[in-house]
């Protein structure tokens, strides 16, 4: 019987014939924690009487959620992380380096066939590179740091076949919002999602990360894609200096068993928006266009990559953001920030009225860098619009593509980006 991508990677890494619903212990290629989860992991590491981190150069701690520190309490936790990483010889990415889910792929720590855990739910992002990557909590991270292993229940897989090509003005963010709206917030719980079809193949790797990133918003354990020439070229361009990364492309077998196969023709898709306070509360742009907004956010692990900034700058160049809108931009990493400056993108965004903040998670997680006021509407390229997500439970968050966010920032209200691309 054939195997899915998830079954193949977990078989290889566990040395067993792993099938859906089996429990396996598997060797990890990389482990990651961020500043919201690592301090508790360090505490759990001590509770487990851990002494040394197993293979510490295949583990990173990242300070991105509150970076730079806005508070004394946060500073103490950052200090704890820096001390632990130094003592253990782990990789440490500090303030300004970027968002963990950009850094792990960008620095070459993950590639086709890798098995990765991260103490952050959006670790599924690396599935765009054909890696099985999943989010865990702090205690699981501590166990993985000590042992280099993790236990997994091998997931069933849910296959999305996306036929046709996305029309102009419609992007990978619109596609994943549409799919989440179709299957709902728990439509893929306990399962691995596999995304395939012409529409996926036509996307850049940057754009594919957006789709894999949001697999967790349908409850999935991983969001997997096949490795084509674009992925292999991307991985070559983002190789780790140490040359680490023993990658091996994994394709699903034609006769693999799926829990469900869902097919969509996406050639007629319109820009999509997730309305407050649920990611699966998705509408086409026409239904929400005209809703006044007070803040627009471009960035995050979902949409802070170079292509995202370029798309937004294409709409904003030579124009001014609406006077009653605060426009916040956070590039996903230092590298992206520099590349965007080299292309003049940052200059175009700043001239249009953007406030550019340190690469990091910033406004998405409500820690700092743009907490909205009571009753305000925000449109964001992030992946969650839960009540209180941005630090104020009386604000309203709409999720959309970089193009829709840019168009809305200009209009002062949710706007269809296709009107600005003519």
């Amino acid at each position: 019987m054939g195997k899915t991508i998830a079954e193949k990677i977990l078989s290889r890494k566990s040395g067993q014939d792993a099938r859906a619903n089996d429990l396996v212990v598997a060797d990890l290629d990389f482990r990651m924690g961020q500043d919201g989860t690592s301090p508790l992991a360090i505490r759990a590491f001590e509770e487990m009487r851990g002494k040394r981190v197993f293979d510490p150069q295949r583990a990173a701690l990242v300070i991105d959620h509150s970076a730079p520190s806005p508070l004394e309490g946060v500073s103490a936790l950052h200090h704890l992380m820096r001390s632990f990483a130094k003592e253990q010889g782990m990789i440490m990415y500090d303030i300004g380096d970027g968002v963990c889910h950009q850094l792990v792929p960008e620095k070459g720590h993950v590639g086709p066939g890798s098995l990765v855990i991260g103490a952050d739910s959006h670790t599924c992002t690396y599935g765009a590179l054909n890696a099985f990557a999943t989010g865990v909590g702090s205690t699981d991270l501590a166990a993985a740091l000590i042992s280099g292993k993790m236990w997994f229940k091998v997931p069933e897989s849910l296959r999305f076949v996306c036929r046709g090509r996305l029309p102009a003005g419609v992007y990978s963010k619109d596609l994943i919002l549409f799919l989440i709206g179709q299957v709902t917030a728990d439509g893929a719980t306990y399962m691995a999602a596999e995304y395939t079809g012409e529409a996926i193949g036509a996307l850049s790797v940057d754009a594919r990360f957006t789709i894999a990133n949001m697999a967790i918003e349908m409850g999935a354990k991983a969001g997997l894609m096949e490795a084509d020439d674009k992925v292999l070229a991307w991985v070559r361009e983002h190789r780790a200096p140490s040359g680490r990364g023993n990658f091996e492309v994994v394709s699903p077998d034609p006769e693999a068993a799926y829990a469900r196969v869902l097919e969509y023709d996406v050639s007629g898709l319109e820009p999509q928006v997730a309305k407050p306070h649920r990611v699966d509360n998705v509408a086409s742009i026409g239904e929400v266009a005209g809703t006044a907004i007070q803040q627009a956010v471009l960035g995050t692990c979902t949409n802070g990559r170079l292509e995202d900034l370029r798309i937004a700058a294409g709409i904003l160049k030579g124009r001014r953001v609406h006077p009653e809108v605060r426009f916040i931009v956070a590039p996903a990493s230092r590298r992206i920030y520099l590349e965007a400056m080299d292309e003049g993108i940052i200059q175009d965004l700043v001239r249009s009225g953007a406030a550019v903040v340190t690469p990091g998670c910033g406004p998405c997680v409500g820690t700092h860098n743009g907490v909205p006021a009571d009753g305000e509407n925000v449109i964001s390229t992030a992946n969650r619009n839960f009540k209180g997500r941005m630090g104020n439970s009386k604000a309203f968050i709409y999720l959309a593509s970089p193009a829709t966010v840019a168009a809305s920032a200009l209009a002062g209200a949710i706007a269809d980006p296709r009107e600005y691309l003519k």
Binding site: L23, G36, V74, L77, G219, R384
Partner: protein, 166 residues
């Protein structure tokens, strides 16, 4: 493992931001401080009302969203004895077991606030003592039951030094 508690009812898709908001969790490891804010965006008085051993009862997809382990820890430190839900988001489910918070997957539709409940984890049944009804519990995989019995994954690792999956 048998657990007895009084129900506090919530709806479906209770995400980890609602359990403990990101604005609190990044600045402290003091779980008692976090426990004073648990579930506050859904019920501002919950932290004051909850008594040791009480159950949180919810619908589908409990604990969806972020991987923050502060969510089960805040519930535990507020005195919550178990979470009962129609289904759980997988990261929360793992985190709950890893931190020693019992999670019970069962049909919760017939439970009302204040009901006295008895969960028999090995027997696989939930008894509603107030209403005199019984509901089957979806069994935990034996390995997870072992971790929970050890008091969480840290205690499990202290005992075995690794994942004792067999």
């Amino acid at each position: 493992m048998k657990l007895k508690g009084r129900a506090h009812c919530f709806g479906g898709d209770v995400n980890t931001d609602y359990i403990i908001s990101g604005k609190y969790k990044f600045k402290t490891l003091d779980m008692k401080e976090l426990a004073s804010h648990v579930m506050e965006d859904l019920d501002p008085d919950f932290a004051k009302k909850v008594q040791p051993g009480d159950f949180v009862v919810a619908g589908r997809n409990f604990g969806c969203g972020s991987s923050r382990e502060q969510a089960p820890l805040a519930l535990l430190n507020a005195g919550v004895g178990a979470v009962l839900a129609a289904s759980f988001a997988r990261i929360f489910y793992r985190n709950a077991i890893n931190t020693g918070l019992p999670v019970v997957e069962c049909d919760t539709a017939g439970i009302s606030a204040g009901d006295e409940l008895l969960a028999d984890m090995e027997g696989g049944v939930l008894r509603n003592l107030t209403r005199g009804t019984e509901t089957p519990i979806k069994p935990l995989p034996p390995f997870m039951l072992k971790v929970l019995g050890d008091g969480g994954l840290a205690a499990h690792f202290r005992k075995y030094g690794t994942f004792n999956i067999d």
